[in-house]
Every structure is written in structure tokens, then in C-alpha cells.
């Protein structure tokens, strides 16, 4: 073991062109947060237009119909591709994987840096696309042709190809990162760490990476074809000669597994937090793992439930309804396993735990409303209404926002070596959760009332322009403003704690996994001269043979499993 890890010393090689997995993780996290601010600002602008149509929006100005389309499209694109993916998978994956498997870095540090650099270029291209002639792309994040493929329809001759290029580059960045993740976890685990000793969050990130890799390939080919349609006048997806429906299949073959790509890391974060803060072993480690694999496999057979009204064969709609309802079984098992883990535990309502519990509750609502949309009969009524919007925000918000906050507040002491402020954390928690529900419950009701999405001004629709519907829109928009305002305490807490917070010890939460063996924050090379060795599973809390209520994976001794009879 060489162990001679002299970290880089200059500012540029330490923070900008770093090869260290922790710094690359931070780069992903802060880029993701920056993009989240843009995405949130876009949501603010178009929600204000819906609540107060035609009036000048403070901080934006008049929202034209063209602006509106562009704002909605880029809000969706940013939040999924430039916030959920980089923060949940790339940032936490990069930071956690080498630490949790007891390695000094990823196996390919330079590939890792290249992945971030491509990601950064993609983000810059996307931002640039807002300022070109014709404005940013406005054909929805799903980018259906012929609207997206023909500049005469979408009126964004430059915005559309730039948007598509940005998305394609982002996918390339994550494919490179994914290869690194998979190879690292397969090969670079420390001595003694067997398959079932890997912490669940690492498993979940790996399964998510596999899903991403398997689903995104055809879309890469499809994206290039769409780019040719836009720029070289080919007709892959045009009505004459090509097939617009083909894009929908390619897109959703990726798009639905993508939901699970971002869901699984968030589920993994929840596993780590609820075990630590209820001082109990994870209920059904293997069952959770197998159910996650089942979810992953099933997720490849549900994509056409996005296309029930797109002109697919009705017999096919029945098949996809069945597969869609089936996928709620493994996800349901996961939720029951979480509840069983909590049952009888000695629960501490710390800030990360609050976020983790909120994730379970809010995601459940998102999942249950998905049943309505997965059944082709009800979907025909709900399709393209804000019921759908509310449904997927009840899934994506818990994933991308609640899951991320859970992860950041839990691993913050490890990341920066300091503790976050608990009171501010709780203010931020309640200030996020309450407005979130106030924002999207009205959208469920409005959607059931027949309010279509993607409409710029409801005043032109007499059935939808009545005061009771408009008041709900205003209520939802004001909730959004409150939600955004309550992010300020978080940002303050984050940056203040980073420099002024109370110093954190190595293992402030008394957890078992390997990252808590390293100093806080871990130095270059993570563990110094002696890599930890693994002797048992990651969740041996409150073991009857022990005085301490936790039993670190790296502490020499028996495996400590209790055989059940």
C-alpha cells in the first residue's frame, strides 16, 4: 500500500480541474444547485402568469406566450436532467461510493473529471439556448416531433437544436460517469465487503446507473436522428416518410425508467437515514434489493402508458396498464420495508430523519395517484390535465428535492466537517413541506375539473376561467412563492455552517457504514494509510450482544447476525 497521497496544492488543480472524487461530487452538487435556482425562477415566472395573466411579473416582466412555452419546457428539462440527475446520482454517487466501499477514489479519476466537464459544457449550452435568436426551445421536455423537428412549427430554429445538443451531451456525461460507478463498485471494494455488505444507497445508485445505461441507448440514436431532422432536413420523425410516434416510443422507453433512475438513489438515502435515526437494522435488506431489481426490470415494460391517447393499439394499452399497475407491487414492498424498519425503533426526529419520513409520505401520494394514470380508462380523462402535473410533481419533488435535502443534511458533517444548524433546518423543512402540498393539491383538483396543462392564459377558456378555479391557481402560485422564499434559510444555513458551524466529529450520527470511519472532511485519499476492512453488514444497530447500539462495519469481530428460527 503506497498511501503516499499528497493532494494537489494550487487552487486550480484542487478545486477546478480536480481528480478527487469528493471535489468532483461537490462540483456536481453546486452546479446542480445553481441550475435548481434557474429552474425555480422559471417556475415562478410561468406560475405568476397563470395566477395573474397578462400582468407584469416582478423580476421577470411580461410573460409572452412564446416565453411561457420556453419557460415550462426548460423548467422540466433543467429539473430532471440538470438537477435531479447531477445532485442525486452524480454528486452523492461520486462523494459516497468510494467512501462507502472503502476506496481512495473512483477507479478512473480522469474519466470522472471528463464526465463533469462534459456536463458543465452541456449546462452552458442549455443556458446559451435561452439567448439565441428566436429564444429557448418551447416544445416541452418530451420534445415530440413534428413540433420539435420543424422550425416552422416551433419557431425556435436555433433554440431547439441547442436544447437537443445539451441534452445529448448531458446523457454522454452520465454514461461516462456510470461506467466509472459500475466498475468502481464491482472492483474497488475494500477487503471483506461482500455483495450483501454493500450499503443500500450504493446498491440503489448502481441499479439506477444500470437502468440509465440500458434505457438511454436508443434515445441517443433517436436524439441524433431528431437533430438531423431539425438541421439537415431528413424525415426520420416527419409525418411523410417517417413516423412521429417512433420518437414517443424512443423517448418514453428512456423516460419511464428515468423516473426510477432518480427514484432509487433517493430510496437508498432514505434507507441509510431511517436505520441510523431509528437505531434499527434495515428490515429485509435482501428483499429490498430484490424488489429494486424487480422494479428495474418491470420499468422497461411500462413506457407506453404515456401514450394511451397517442394512437397506439388499444390492446397494447391494456397490456401496458397491467404492467404499470404491477410495478406498484415492488415499490409498495419497499415502502412497507421502510415502515417495518421504523416500527418499534428508537426514533430521533433530526432534520435528515424528518426529510426521510416526509419522502415516504409524499412519495406515497405520488405513487397512489399514479394508479389513476396507469389505468388506460381513467388516463383518457386525466391525460394532459394538471392532474398529471400534480402527480409527477408528487413523485419528482420528493425524489429530487426532499431526497436531496435528506442526503445533504445527513452527509453534510462528512462533506464539510461541520454540523448544520438544527433549528434553521427545521424551519426550512416545514417551510418547504407545507407550501409544497398547498401548491400541488390544488393542481389535482383543477386537473379533475378539466384544466389542461400547457395553456398560457385560461381567460380564453370560459369553462376554466371562473373565479373558483382562478382562486385555486392564485393559491397555488402564492404557495410556490412561499416555497421558494423558504429556500433562503437553507442557503444561509448551508453556507454559514460550511465555515462557521460547530466542528463535526468522525461519526456524529453513530452510524455503521465506512464513510464514518474517515476523518470529517476526508483528506485526499480518504482513509490515510490504513484502509478499513469490512466484517459485517451495514445496519447492525442495537445488537443484543453489544453495549453500544451501533456496530461499525469496520470493527473487527463476528458478523453478528442473529439467526431466526
Amino acid at each position: 500500500m503506497s498511501g503516499d497521497h499528497h493532494g494537489p496544492t494550487s487552487f486550480w488543480s484542487k478545486y477546478v480541474f480536480s481528480l478527487d472524487h469528493k471535489v468532483i461530487g461537490m462540483q456536481y452538487m453546486f452546479t446542480g444547485m445553481f441550475m435548481a435556482i434557474i429552474g425555480g425562477y422559471f417556475a415562478y415566472a410561468f406560475r405568476m402568469q397563470l395566477a395573474f395573466p397578462g400582468q407584469e411579473v416582478p423580476g421577470y416582466g411580461i410573460v409572452t406566450s412564446h416565453d411561457y412555452n420556453s419557460l415550462v419546457t426548460n423548467h422540466g428539462t433543467i429539473m430532471i436532467f440538470w438537477v435531479a440527475m447531477p445532485v442525486l446520482i452524480a454528486a452523492l454517487g461520486n462523494f459516497l461510493i468510494p467512501l462507502m466501499i472503502g476506496a481512495d477514489d473512483m477507479v478512473f479519476p480522469r474519466l470522472n473529471r471528463l464526465s463533469y466537464q462534459i456536463f458543465l459544457v452541456s449546462a452552458i449550452i442549455l443556458i446559451a439556448s435561452f439567448f439565441v435568436q428566436g429564444g429557448g426551445f418551447g416544445g416541452a421536455w418530451t420534445s415530440y416531433p413534428p413540433l420539435s423537428s420543424n422550425p416552422e412549427y416551433n419557431l425556435t430554429p436555433l433554440g431547439a437544436p441547442l436544447w437537443l445538443t445539451a441534452v445529448a451531451l448531458e446523457i454522454v456525461a452520465f454514461l461516462l460517469g456510470g461506467i466509472n460507478f459500475l466498475t468502481t463498485v464491482m472492483n474497488a471494494r475494500t477487503k471483506g465487503m461482500k455483495m450483501y455488505d454493500i450499503p443500500m444507497v450504493v446498491w440503489m445508485i448502481i441499479i439506477a446507473t444500470l437502468l440509465f445505461m440500458a434505457s438511454v441507448g436508443p434515445l441517443v440514436a433517436g436524439a441524433v436522428m431528431l437533430l438531423f431532422d431539425q438541421t439537415l432536413n431528413t424525415s426520420f420523425f416527419s409525418v411523410d416518410g417517417g413516423d412521429p410516434l417512433l420518437w414517443q416510443h424512443l423517448f418514453w422507453f428512456f423516460g419511464h425508467p428515468e423516473v426510477y433512475v432518480v427514484l432509487l438513489p433517493a430510496m437508498g438515502i432514505v434507507c441509510e437515514i431511517i436505520t441510523t435515526f431509528s437505531r434499527k437494522k434495515l428490515f429485509g435488506y435482501k428483499e429490498i434489493l430484490y424488489m429494486t431489481f424487480a422494479t428495474g426490470i418491470l420499468s422497461f415494460f411500462v413506457w407506453a402508458h404515456h401514450q394511451f391517447v397517442a394512437g397506439i393499439d388499444p390492446r397494447m394499452a391494456t397490456v401496458f396498464s397491467i404492467t404499470t399497475l404491477l410495478i406498484s407491487i415492488p415499490i409498495g414492498v419497499l415502502c412497507f420495508c421502510f415502515i417495518a424498519t421504523l416500527w418499534g425503533g428508537s426514533i430521533t426526529f433530526s432534520v435528515p430523519m424528518l426529510w426521510a419520513l416526509a419522502f415516504i409520505g409524499e412519495f406515497l401520494l405520488g405513487g397512489v395517484t399514479g394508479i389513476y394514470l396507469g389505468s388506460s380508462g381513467t388516463d383518457i380523462f386525466f391525460h394532459d390535465t394538471t392532474f398529471v402535473v400534480a402527480h409527477f410533481h408528487y413523485t419528482f419533488f420528493p425524489i429530487a428535492i426532499i431526497g436531496t435535502f435528506a442526503g445533504i443534511t445527513y452527509w453534510f458533517p462528512k462533506m464539510f466537517g461541520r454540523m448544520m444548524d438544527e433549528t434553521l433546518g427545521k424551519v426550512h423543512f416545514w417551510g418547504t413541506i407545507i407550501p409544497f402540498n398547498c401548491l400541488f393539491i390544488p393542481l389535482f383538483l383543477l386537473g379533475m375539473g378539466g384544466q389542461h396543462r400547457r395553456i398560457y392564459n385560461y381567460e380564453n377558456f370560459p369553462d376554466l376561467a371562473g373565479p373558483e378555479m382562478q382562486n385555486m391557481r392564485i393559491f397555488a402560485t402564492l404557495s410556490l412563492v412561499a416555497l421558494l422564499a423558504f429556500q433562503l434559510p437553507f442557503l444561509y444555513n448551508l453556507f454559514r455552517s460550511m465555515f462557521r458551524g460547530e466542528k463535526a466529529e468522525k461519526n456524529p450520527w453513530k452510524a455503521n457504514t465506512l464513510e464514518w470511519v474517515a476523518p470529517s472532511p476526508p483528506p485526499h485519499g480518504n482513509f490515510g494509510h490504513q484502509f478499513p476492512e469490512v466484517f459485517r453488514g451495514p445496519y447492525e444497530f442495537s445488537h443484543p450482544d453489544r453495549e453500544d447500539d451501533f456496530w461499525p462495519q469496520s470493527e473487527p469481530g463476528p458478523r453478528g447476525e442473529i439467526k431466526e428460527h
Binding site: D104, M186, P218, A221, F236, S238, L246
Partner: protein, 199 residues
């Protein structure tokens, strides 16, 4: 900078580089798989594509198939030389492989130029009209073009590796290039019948 210790670990027993190349190949299979699936779906729906496919030159495609298969053979010899740490021989056969790639690209350029001449022939645009709004030619250029880019990428990688092994370093990378090159070869084995033979 030195590689991290993580790179030298091998919990699976498979070399880390080989493992990574397999993941690269898997992700590439899915990209080409998606492309070929799209092509097949159109091909099965449109019988007329058989006539459009008459434009492609089967002899040129056949020559390229033989060239690529030969190059894969050279890559295998280079690998076996590298396992014996025979840097000079591995260097020579890597360059034979690169040479085959070059011949492949020359034949491809000839094909492309004749296709483009045919499409843009000075006959009042009859050929262009016949092919406009049908995707055979678009798929032809996209699939073979993407494959051609992979050929170029493989050649560049082999050039870099060849000079490393000449200096006596990184013998294992010959195997990685070889694995990738075989994959590029296999993709062509799929494209050749689909675009050239089936008329």
C-alpha cells in the same frame, strides 16, 4: 499523477480496464441496437425500401467486410504478442490493424461520394425526389456514418496505445483496444446484410 489504489483493486477478479471496456461495449450495443431496431421497424413496414437499397454497392460492402475481419485477426495477433510482452510485434500488428481501418475508410469514402453524386445528379433531381421523404438513404448515412466514427475512434486509440507499448508500458491496453475493435467489427457484420445484401 499516480493512479489511485482503487484502480489496482480487483474484487471480481477481472481486470478493471477490461471490465470498463465491457460496460462501454454494453452501452454501445444499446445505442446501435436502438438504431437498428428503428431501421428494422421501417424496413418491415415499407417493401419499397428493397428498391432503394439497390443503390448500395454490395461488392464494396463485401470488400469492407473482409477488410474488417482481417483487421480483427491482426488485433488478435497483436494481443497475443502483448501478453508475451513482445512490444515490437504488437506494435507492428496494431499498425496492420490501423492500416485495415484506413482501407475501410477509403472504400467508405468512395461509396459515399458515389451515393452523393447519384442523389445530386444533374438529371432534374429525379433521383433526389425518389429518395426524398424516404428514410433509407438517411438511415444508410446515419448508421454507416456512426459506425465510421467508431472505426476512427478505434484507430486513434490504437495509435496512442501502439506508441505506449513501444516504450514498454501498458501492455494490457492492447487487449482493451482489441475488445473494442471486435465490437466495431460485429456492428458492421449487422449493418452489411441489413443495408447492402437485403434488396
Amino acid at each position: 499523477m499516480d493512479s489511485p489504489i482503487a484502480t489496482s483493486r480487483s474484487a471480481t477478479g477481472i481486470n478493471t480496464g477490461v471490465l470498463a471496456i465491457y460496460w462501454v461495449i454494453i452501452s454501445e450495443i444499446l445505442i446501435f441496437g436502438g438504431l437498428i431496431m428503428c431501421y428494422l421497424l421501417f424496413r418491415l413496414r415499407n417493401d419499397s425500401w428493397g428498391e432503394f437499397a439497390a443503390v448500395t454497392s454490395t461488392p464494396a460492402g463485401a470488400i469492407n467486410t473482409i477488410v474488417l475481419l482481417t483487421s480483427s485477426y491482426f488485433a488478435v495477433i497483436a494481443h497475443s504478442a502483448a501478453t508475451k510482452k513482445d512490444g515490437a510485434k504488437a506494435f507492428k500488428f496494431l499498425w496492420y490493424t490501423i492500416g485495415c481501418g484506413f482501407i475501410f475508410l477509403c472504400v467508405k469514402s468512395y461509396e459515399y461520394s458515389s451515393k452523393l453524386k447519384y442523389l445530386f445528379a444533374d438529371d432534374g433531381g429525379a433521383h433526389w425526389d425518389a429518395h426524398y421523404n424516404n428514410n433509407f438513404m438517411a438511415y444508410y448515412f446515419f448508421a454507416t456514418g456512426l459506425h465510421g466514427l467508431h472505426v476512427i475512434a478505434g484507430m486513434v486509440a490504437m495509435m496512442i496505445v501502439s506508441f505506449q507499448i513501444k516504450k514498454g508500458r501498458n501492455y494490457n491496453r492492447v487487449e482493451l483496444c482489441g475488445l473494442y475493435w471486435h465490437f466495431v467489427d460485429i456492428v458492421w457484420i449487422f449493418l452489411f446484410p441489413l443495408l447492402y445484401i437485403a434488396k
